[in-house]
């Protein structure tokens, strides 16, 4: 890649940052060149973000309808899946899955609730609700 060909497509996913890409300058040296983004990257980053957004949105509606607990919503909202949440809390997956049920979640004791809240970067109170 030549340095003048380094894409400068102002990706929204870069949040105004530039990234360094290696390309050949006029003298033939391969050097880091600032890039404002490339459409191909933006597409796949947004795809990865959207996977969690879609799941979070669906879980939010189900939580409001009383079909699942806020925990499931917050897991996806924090870009986690079941195994990531299990690893971050040290709670077994089947147990977490049980806590996705509103009734089981409502019975959760303070220590467990705090463990979840901490792993998700929330206060225990915020974890009890969906926005």
């Amino acid at each position: 890649m030549e340095s003048r060909d380094v894409p400068q497509e102002r990706n929204v996913t870069l949040g105004g940052y530039h990234k360094a890409v290696y390309a050949r300058d006029e003298s033939g040296r391969i050097v880091p060149v600032k890039s404002a983004g490339w459409e191909a990257e933006e597409t796949v980053t947004q795809q990865a973000v959207a996977i969690f957004q879609v799941k979070a949105k669906a879980a939010r509606l189900r939580a409001l309808a009383g079909e699942c607990s806020p925990l499931e919503y917050w897991m996806y909202a924090r870009r986690m899946d079941l195994s990531t949440l299990a690893q971050n809390t040290g709670i077994w997956r089947w147990r977490i899955r049980r806590h996705f049920r509103p009734a089981a979640f409502a019975r959760l004791g303070d220590p467990l609730l705090r463990r979840y809240a901490e792993a998700l970067g929330l206060s225990p109170d915020a974890l009890r609700r969906v926005p």
Binding site: M1, V12, T13, L14, G15, G16, Y17, H18, K19, A20, V21, Y22, A23, R24, R29, I30, V31, P32, K34, W38, E39, A40, E41, T43, V44, T45, Q46, Q47, A48, V49, I51, R78, R79, M80, D81, S83, T84, Q87, N88, T89, G90, A119, G121
Partner: protein
Amino acid sequence: MRNSSPPFQHRHAAHCESGVVANLLSHHGLPISEPMTFGLAAALTFAYLPFIRIQEMPLVAYRKPPRAILNGASRALGVRFRIERFRSPQEGEARLDELLTEGRVVGLQTSVYWLTYFPEDMRFHFNAHNLVAYGSDGDDYLVSDPVIEEPVRCARADLTRARFARGVLAPHGLLYYPELSAAREPSPAMIIRAIRRVARMMIVPLPFVGAGGIRTMGRKIARLDPASPLSARLVGHIVRMQEEIGTGGAGFRFLFAAFLQEASEATQQHQLAEYSNRLMEIGDEWRAFALAAARMVKGRDRFDPPALASLVQHLAQREKSFFKDLRADLARC
């Protein structure tokens, strides 16, 4: 602060680990570029491991696993890194503060997700990010994150949380800094050895590593069902690993080409400059694959797995002959 130590110089880099190691070594009196650090560690590779799943996606890597650059560069240059891990966030924070007060500049392993200065869309639960802490100011740490253009600030609570994130590759507060008592400039022999190691790994006759891994990934793409949403997800995942995750473009191929160029001068093996050119062209072809794939993911072009697969198969062939030639050439010197 120790008055004797020069201010830390932030250098923007393509990749976090090679950037941190290069910048730390340069700060401690061994000026070295990011490509030389990456190359000396023989960090270029390819791996497609469908039996290891990360958030439902197979492991696709264009470089060696985390810490390989730190360990590889340290071995090649004879630099000892002091490495410390901690049982609790309190201990880890106290030790970092102590080192910073002594005027030390320290490398840290962190999660990306909890780094609040990171662009929102790039924050995922990846635990093997690297950055440098070079000071503190009130309740902020002064951070040089090589993949960000300028030095940044990070609130104490956020950085500590990122250092003690749990899960796969959990950092446990890992911090490191070099002790340069026995450091040596990279020698030609060392550089050649590193290139040989990369070439050998890239042509190893195994189905999941090197050119063989690229071929296996191509076969997998060829068999994808265009109607399944998981297919576009896999293709998008491959492109992300190749381009978005701080690779310097084309899955580290451009970065390694920069290393080969630097190596040709350092070793006076001028044919390496030719190989550098060839690898740049191969990198351009990886970019063409990424662009074609992203257009299909976005629905601009019809999703056509066999067409993508044939691009990947062509790359597998080109990389195989590239590294075979490179290896044969180096056997003569």
